[in-house]
C-alpha cells in the first residue's frame, strides 16, 4: 500500500509509568474481588481491634515495665561484679572488633537503591503513624510526637519515591552508609531516650522515674559503636594487603569464644613456675618424642607396622587414662578415686591426654605425612595442637582470680549464648563422627551410631536435660564434680549431635557415588577420602540446615530454666518477680524475654537466608 496508516506521530522514548497510586494499589492488593474485599474488611477489623487492645495493654500505666528496665543487667549477665564489669565490655569489644573486621573482609557492603530506602521509610513511618493513631485514649503529647515523627518519615519516603520516578538512572546508596547512619541513630537514642527506672527504699517501697536509657551503660555502648565503625574501616584498609585475612579471622572467631569465657568467668591465675616446671617439660618431651615418631612413621615408605604401633599406642594410652584414673588406684580403698573438682581432674590428665592426642596423630600420620616438607608441616600441626591442649589444661585447671558474687557463673542472656555456642561447637565433631558412623560400612559401628541417633532424637530435650542434671551426677559423683552449667552443656551437646548427625548424613548422601569411586581410584585412604573429598562437600551442602540447627538450639536453651539454670527465661520468670520490689511483674518480664529471644532469632534467620543466597552464588 502506498499510504500507510500512521498510529503515532512521534515515537515515545521513555516508557509510560505503570498505573500506580494508592487507589490502584488497594485495587490490586486488597480488593481485587468481592470475596477479597470482604476478607480485607473482616481481617482489617480484627487487626484493628487486636492492635488497639495490644497497644492499650502495653501503655497501661499499671504495667510494671520498670521491673525489666531496672533489672536489665540481671537479664544480661546475672550477677557480675561491678568492679569487674570492664571484662564484660572487653568481651563485647572482642566480638564487635571481629564483627567489624569480618564485615570488611567478606565485603558485606552492598548497594541499595534509593527507591528501596524510600519504600522502607514510607512503611516504617506509616507503621508508626498507624500505631499512634490506633492507640486508645486522647491525643497526649508523647503520642502526638510519635505520630508526627512517623508522618514526617512517611512523607519523606513518599516524596522521595515520587521524585525518583522522573530520573531514568536510579541512584544507589551504599549499605555501609546506611549502617553508619543507623549506628549514629542508636548512639543518639542512647543519650536521649528515657525509660522507667525504679528506686527501692529500705522499707521495701519503691519509686519509678523516667531516666536516660541505661544510665551506666550509654558510654560503654557508645564506645562499642565507635569501635565497630573503626574496626570496619581498619578492615577495609587492610583487606587488600593481607591475603589470608579471612582465614585468620575464622581462626580468631574460633578462639574468641574460649578467650571470652576465660576473660569473663575465670581470669585464670596462671602460675608461671608451674608452666615453666611442668607444662614446658611436658610440651618439650612429648612434643619432641611424638614429633620424632611422626617423622618416622609419616615416611612414604614406612610399612604397615606403623598402623600397628599407633593402634597399640592408642589403646595403651586410653587404658592408662581409664585405669590409672579410676581403677588401679592402690591408695584408695574404694575403686573410685575421688577428685573434688574438674580442675583436679584436668591436672591429673594433663600428662595423659597428650599421649592420646599423639596416638591419634600417629594413626593419621600415614595419611597426611609424606615428603619431608609435608611431614614437617604435619609435625607443626601436632605441636600446635599440643600447645592448645596443654594451654586449655593449664587455663582450665588454674584457679580463678575473679570473685563472683551470686552464682559463680554468668547467667541471663550470656548464659543463653554460652550454652548455645558451647553446645553447637562441641556437638559438631561428635555429630560428624556419628554421621560418618551411620554411613559407614562397618555394621557394629553403624548399629551403634544409628541407635544413638534414633534414641536421642526420639526423646525430648527436656528429658535429656533431666538426665544431665540428675543422672550425670549420679554416674560421676565421686569421680568428678560436674558443674551444673557443664551438665546442661553436656546434655545439649549429646542431644544436638544426634540432630547434627542427621543433617550431615543428608549432606553425605547428596554426594554422588562417583566422588567416592574417583577417590578410591586414585588410591586415597579412608581418612584422606573422608577429610579431603567427602566432608568438605557434605558440610558445604548442609550449611543451611546447620544454621537452622544453631537457631533452634538457641531457642532450646530456654529449657534449661526448667532444670533451674539462671538463663534469660529463669531470671525473667523467677528471679525478678522474686524481688520484693517487683512481685507481680511476671507477664511483663515474660514478654520482654520473648522480645529478646525474638530479636536474636529473627536476626539470625534473616542473616542465614542472606548467607544461603551468597553461598548459592559462590558455588559456581
Amino acid at each position: 500500500m502506498a499510504e500507510g496508516t500512521v498510529f503515532v506521530e512521534t515515537v515515545e522514548l521513555a516508557p509510560e509509568p505503570p498505573p500506580s497510586g494508592p487507589v490502584q494499589w488497594i485495587r490490586e492488593n486488597l480488593a481485587y474481588s468481592v470475596s477479597s474485599t470482604i476478607t480485607t474488611i473482616v481481617i482489617g477489623l480484627v487487626v484493628f481491634f487486636g492492635l488497639r487492645a495490644l497497644i492499650a495493654w502495653f501503655l497501661n500505666p499499671f504495667r510494671k515495665w520498670s521491673a525489666a528496665t531496672a533489672n536489665a543487667r540481671l537479664l544480661m549477665v546475672q550477677a557480675y561484679p561491678d568492679d569487674q564489669f570492664i571484662r564484660v565490655w572487653i568481651s563485647v569489644g572482642i566480638v564487635v572488633v571481629l564483627a567489624g573486621l569480618s564485615a570488611a573482609a567478606w565485603r558485606v557492603a552492598g548497594k541499595v537503591s534509593v527507591g528501596q530506602v524510600a519504600k522502607g521509610l514510607l512503611s516504617v513511618g506509616s507503621g508508626a503513624l498507624v500505631l499512634a493513631l490506633l492507640a486508645p485514649g486522647g491525643l497526649t503529647g508523647g503520642r502526638v510526637i510519635f505520630g508526627s515523627v512517623g508522618l514526617v518519615i512517611a512523607g519523606i519516603g513518599y516524596m522521595w519515591k515520587r521524585a525518583r520516578k522522573s530520573s531514568v538512572n536510579e541512584p544507589v546508596i551504599s549499605t555501609v552508609a546506611l549502617a553508619g547512619l543507623a549506628l549514629v541513630l542508636i548512639g543518639v537514642f542512647l543519650w536521649t531516650v528515657k525509660l522507667p527506672v525504679q528506686e527501692v527504699f529500705a522499707d521495701g517501697s519503691k519509686e519509678v522515674t523516667n531516666q536516660l536509657i541505661a544510665r551506666s551503660t550509654k558510654l560503654p555502648w557508645t564506645v562499642q559503636l565507635l569501635v565497630l565503625a573503626v574496626s570496619y574501616l581498619v578492615g577495609v584498609a587492610i583487606r587488600d594487603s593481607i591475603s589470608s585475612l579471612r582465614r585468620i579471622l575464622v581462626g580468631l572467631w574460633a578462639l574468641s569464644f574460649p578467650a571470652i569465657l576465660m576473660v569473663v568467668m575465670r581470669a585464670p591465675d596462671i602460675e608461671w613456675d608451674t608452666v615453666l616446671s611442668v607444662d614446658l617439660p611436658i610440651f618439650l618431651a612429648i612434643g619432641a618424642l611424638v614429633g620424632v615418631i611422626l617423622y618416622v612413621i609419616g615416611a612414604p615408605d614406612a610399612g604397615e607396622w606403623k598402623y600397628i604401633v599407633s593402634a597399640i599406642w592408642l589403646v595403651l594410652a586410653v587404658l592408662w587414662v581409664l585405669f590409672s584414673w579410676y581403677l588401679f588406684d592402690p591408695a584408695s580403698s574404694s575403686p573410685f578415686h575421688f577428685t573434688s573438682s574438674a580442675a583436679d581432674v584436668l591436672k591429673r590428665l594433663e600428662f595423659k591426654f597428650p599421649l592420646i592426642l599423639g596416638a591419634l596423630f600417629a594413626l593419621a600420620a600415614p595419611s597426611f605425612g609424606g615428603a619431608r616438607a609435608a611431614r614437617l608441616r604435619y609435625i607443626g600441626v601436632w605441636l600446635g595442637a599440643l600447645v592448645l591442649l596443654i594451654m586449655s589444661f593449664r587455663l582450665g585447671a588454674a584457679s580463678s582470680l575473679l570473685e563472683l558474687s551470686g552464682t559463680a557463673f554468668v547467667g541471663g542472656l550470656s548464659l543463653t549464648f554460652t550454652l548455645a555456642i558451647a553446645a553447637i561447637v562441641l556437638s559438631f565433631p561428635l555429630g560428624v563422627l556419628l554421621a560418618l558412623g551411620r554411613a559407614s560400612t562397618m555394621p557394629i559401628v553403624r548399629m551403634i551410631s544409628t541407635t544413638y541417633i534414633e534414641l536421642v532424637r526420639s526423646v525430648p530435650l527436656i528429658t535429656w536435660l533431666y538426665i544431665g542434671s540428675n543422672l550425670l551426677n549420679l554416674f560421676l559423683a565421686g569421680v568428678v564434680d560436674i558443674f551444673s552449667v557443664v551438665r546442661a552443656i553436656t546434655a545439649m551437646t549429646l542431644f544436638s549431635a544426634a540432630y547434627l548427625a542427621e543433617n550431615v548424613r543428608g549432606g553425605l548422601q547428596s554426594i554422588p557415588k562417583g566422588q567416592y569411586e574417583a577417590a578410591d581410584a586414585v588410591g586415597m585412604s579412608v581418612v584422606q577420602k573422608t577429610v579431603l573429598i567427602t566432608l568438605p562437600q557434605a558440610l558445604k551442602a548442609v550449611i543451611p540446615a546447620l544454621v537452622g540447627q544453631v537457631i533452634s538450639l538457641f531457642k532450646d536453651t530456654s529449657l534449661v530454666s526448667i532444670i533451674g539454670l539462671f538463663d534469660l527465661l529463669y531470671i525473667a520468670r523467677n528471679v525478678i518477680p522474686g524481688q520484693s520490689a517487683n512481685i507481680g511483674s511476671i507477664l511483663e518480664l515474660t514478654v520482654v524475654a520473648a522480645a529478646i529471644y525474638w530479636i536474636f532469632t529473627f536476626t539470625f534467620s534473616r542473616s542465614s537466608m542472606r548467607l544461603e543466597r551468597r553461598l548459592g552464588l559462590g558455588t559456581r
Partner: protein, 245 residues
C-alpha cells in the same frame, strides 16, 4: 617390552545379588597394549574393568595386576591403585577443588610428592591434554570435554602403568568427543597400557591393538580391529556390529 602379561584375569566371576554380571572372564593384557572392550549395555564390560582396580570386588577367580594378586590385602590394594589410573564416564572431578588441586591431590597425599613437584607435573599434564590455561578454575566452570581431559590428566598424575577408561565419551556432546579421543590417542601413541570401554568404533579401529566383545558377562570374541570389524566370527558379534555400524 616382554610378552609378560601386565594384567592377568582368570575365571573372574561376579554377582550382584542373584544377577551374575561376570561369568568367568579370562584375559591377559600385555604391557603397552591398547584393548578396547565393546558390547551391549549391561554386558558386564564396566563391571569388568572396575574389578581391575578393585572398585568392584570379584567373587571368584583371580586377577593379577603387574604380578600382584587382588585380594583383601590392604597393601596390594594400595599398590595397585597407585599403578592403575581410571577415567569415568561422568568425570567425577571433585567440585570443591580447582583443576590444579584435582590433579595434584593424589600425588601429594597418596604418592607423598612435594607440592611444587606435583604442580609442575600437573602443569605439564594439562599442557598435554591441551588446557593449560584452566588450572585455577573449578570443574563447574569447564565444558564436559575439558572436564574429561582434566580427569585424564588427574589419572595420569599418578604416573600409572595402566589406564582404564570407562565409557569416557558417552556423557559428552558430539563436538566434544573428538578432543577427548585425541587426548587418548596421544596417550596410546606414547605406549600406555590401556583398557577402554567405549562405543566409539572409529577409535577402536584406529587405536586398538585388540578388540574384545562382551555379552552376558562373558568374553565372546576377541581379535585385532581389522579382523573384528571385517570378519567377526560369532553370531552375537555380527548382530551387534550390524546394529551399530
Amino acid at each position: 617390552m616382554t610378552d609378560q602379561a601386565i594384567i592377568d584375569c582368570r575365571g573372574v566371576k561376579k554377582w550382584f545379588g542373584d544377577f551374575q554380571a561376570l561369568r568367568g572372564v579370562d584375559l591377559e593384557v600385555t604391557k603397552g597394549e591398547v584393548v578396547v572392550i565393546i558390547g551391549p549395555s549391561g554386558s558386564g564390560k564396566s563391571t569388568f574393568i572396575r574389578c581391575i582396580n578393585r572398585l568392584e570386588v570379584h567373587q571368584e577367580g583371580q586377577i593379577f595386576v603387574d604380578g600382584i594378586e587382588l585380594t583383601n590385602d590392604v597393601r596390594n590394594i594400595e599398590a595397585i591403585r597407585k599403578d592403575v589410573g581410571m577415567v569415568f564416564q561422568s568425570f567425577n572431578l571433585f567440585p570443591h577443588l580447582t583443576i590444579m588441586q584435582n590433579i595434584t591431590l593424589a600425588p601429594i597425599w597418596v604418592k607423598k610428592q612435594s607440592k611444587s613437584e606435583a604442580e609442575a607435573y600437573g602443569r605439564e599434564l594439562l599442557e598435554r591434554v591441551g588446557i593449560p590455561e584452566q588450572a585455577d578454575k573449578y570443574p563447574g566452570q569447564l565444558s564436559g570435554g575439558q572436564q574429561q581431559r582434566v580427569a585424564i590428566a588427574r589419572a595420569l598424575a599418578m604416573k600409572p602403568q595402566i589406564m582404564l577408561f570407562d565409557e569416557p565419551t558417552s556423557a559428552l556432546d558430539p563436538e566434544m568427543v573428538k578432543e577427548v579421543l585425541d587426548a587418548m590417542k596421544e596417550l596410546a601413541k606414547e605406549g600406555m597400557t590401556m583398557i577402554v570401554v567405549t562405543h566409539e568404533m572409529g577409535f577402536a579401529r584406529e587405536v586398538a591393538d585388540r578388540v574384545l566383545f562382551f555379552d552376558y558377562g562373558q568374553l565372546v570374541e576377541a581379535g585385532t580391529p581389522e579382523h573384528f570389524f571385517t570378519n567377526p566370527q560369532h553370531d552375537r558379534t555380527k548382530l551387534f556390529l550390524s546394529q551399530i555400524l
